[in-house]
Amino acid sequence: MPAMIEIDNLRKTFGETLALDGLTFTADEARVFALLGPNGSGKTTTVRILATLLMADSGRAAIGGVDVREHPVAVRRMIGLAGQHAAVDETLTGYENLLMIGRLYRLSARAARKSAAEVLERLSLTDAAQRPVRTYSGGMRRRLDVGASLVGRPRVLLLDEPSAGLDPGARLELWSFLRNLLLDGTTILLTTQQLEEADQLADTVTIIDHGKVIAEGSPAELKARLGTETIEITLADPLELHAATRTVLALAVQPIESDLSAGRMTFKAHAGTKALPAAVRLLDDAQIAVEDVTALRPSLDDVFLSVVGRPAQPGDAHQGGKEVIKR
């Protein structure tokens, strides 16, 4: 499998802040590669370097074997970028936006028209194609934004937090759209703060923090390393909460939290131990009626706790990172 994206020992500082600290990874062709990390971990900086918007202080970044520093124009012919904002013109229609980007991708007028129409079709935006983007919903804008990066038929798609600011429905829509893209062999690098998104989309996940890789693997491998999952059980009768807590005590690795008014208890269990069915069975044996059970997907914080041994601090990192990028 040839590596489509190669990042080797990349370093970048903004003033006194170290954004990338020897970052190294490769992403395979026709696969989805997720860069997972909290705000300020260096995700956006990495994407901007790959998109030739920013130069690294040292190290190498290449797309399709072409060095981004030495041949930026050749790289730009291969990539499509969708940044954190939906970078589409509000006053133009969806079709006009794509047509303009197509022309700037050096397509002929005819090819740009054809490509714009095709992309709108794939985005299920054909009906809205002739409406100004101003009238689009957030999810439609985001799809159009990703679509704008597709009109040049790029080999590599760089998506910086594609689902940021989308409601759950729009997010699911975007995910299914991105999965379809893979069918034509596009390589996708996406950044995200949500393990769930990486889990849903990516073949390989690389977790970064402070500009360094701290864990790599397939979503399944990473989850196996996670150690715990969170289980939430709601009882039919809140008065049985105390008894229920004692019943499942053996499964929990941390103290059980209970919410008496809601009749709900929450606890962490070892992953891979089938704690959820076990808990249901134990409660059933004790004749405690269960109304609802949920296994909560591990959050990025859980990953951090298990891999780094400390929680991520998105709040602090957010401030630092964004300020620096603006300067």
């Binding site: 041949h71 930026p72 124009v73 730009r76 970078a87 013109d89 133009l92 303009m100 100004p132």
Partner: protein
């Protein structure tokens, strides 16, 4: 098996021009689609012209020229400054919303995003200029020269617009914040009002006259007065048209050199 495709590292010879036109088209379409912003921008110069002509016109005596003949060239320079604020705000918005990042990630000349905006804004300024001249003619403005001199005036006007565009582009790209751009208006009012634009410099306090007679707004307006009103303008401006035209060209060269470099530096650093 991967197909090996050759991706050239160069752009076509004329892409700077063609891609600027593609981006300029976006600016023009956007303006037509938002008449609530475009119409006031086109109406306000006419409003200013009529107000100044009838409110101050009676109080201000200009040697050799009627006040409306004196005023219209100043309104044209004012169009450039007010239009320029829109260029700065537009570029700041594009920078803030990631639109410039998108353009910069495409195989298009990096400068095209800026020159494209310049082209569309100059086209809009031209419309504002024409409306101002027509309104001027309606209230008594006359061209007292031949067609050659009129064309020279129009050429100079566009050159001034293109040069000052870089000042506003530098503002928008350096701040990347439309609010900050708006807060930077006061100096432009200083340049507009402490000049020969609306009143003769000789009526200003002595200590202001040195600045007022040599700063670009005075030089530009007096050049346009010389080119549109002929020799009689000299009584009002103090020098023949040639003097102001050469001084204008020098100012344009200096402003473009300085601010185009500043704008491109901010743009590359983004």
């Amino acid at each position: 098996m991967t197909t090996v495709t050759f991706y050239p590292d160069r752009l076509p010879l004329f892409s700077r021009l063609t891609d600027s036109v593609v981006i300029a088209r976006r600016g023009l379409l956007g303006t037509f689609r938002t008449p609530q912003a475009a119409v006031p921008a086109l109406i306000s110069p006419i409003l200013f012209l009529v107000l100044f002509r009838f409110v101050f016109g009676g109080a201000i005596h200009i040697p050799g020229l009627t006040y409306v003949d004196y005023l219209v060239p100043a309104m044209l320079i004012q169009n450039i400054v007010f239009g320029g604020m829109n260029s700065a705000t537009g570029l700041a918005l594009d920078a803030r919303d990631g639109i410039l990042d998108r353009f910069r990630s495409l195989p298009t000349p990096r400068s095209a995003a800026i020159t494209g905006r310049g082209l569309s804004d100059l086209a809009l300024q031209l419309v504002a200029h024409l409306l101002t001249i027509v309104a001027g003619i309606a209230i008594g403005f006359r061209l007292h020269v031949g067609p050659g001199s009129c064309l020279a005036a129009l050429g100079l006007l566009l050159l001034i617009g293109a040069s000052l565009f870089w000042v506003f582009a530098a503002m928008g790209l350096a701040t990347r914040n439309p609010q900050t751009v708006q807060s930077m208006t006061p100096p432009f009012f200083l340049f507009l009002f402490v000049s020969s634009a609306f009143i003769p410099v000789s009526t200003l306090p002595i200590w202001l006259q040195g600045f007022a007679s040599n700063q670009p707004v005075t030089v530009f307006t007096d050049a346009l007065r010389g080119l549109t009103q002929g020799p009689s303008a000299q009584q009002a401006t103090g020098h023949p048209a040639e003097y102001f035209v050469i001084a204008s060209l020098a100012w344009c060269a200096a402003i473009t050199t300085l601010f185009a470099a500043a704008a491109m530096r901010s743009y590359k650093k983004m």
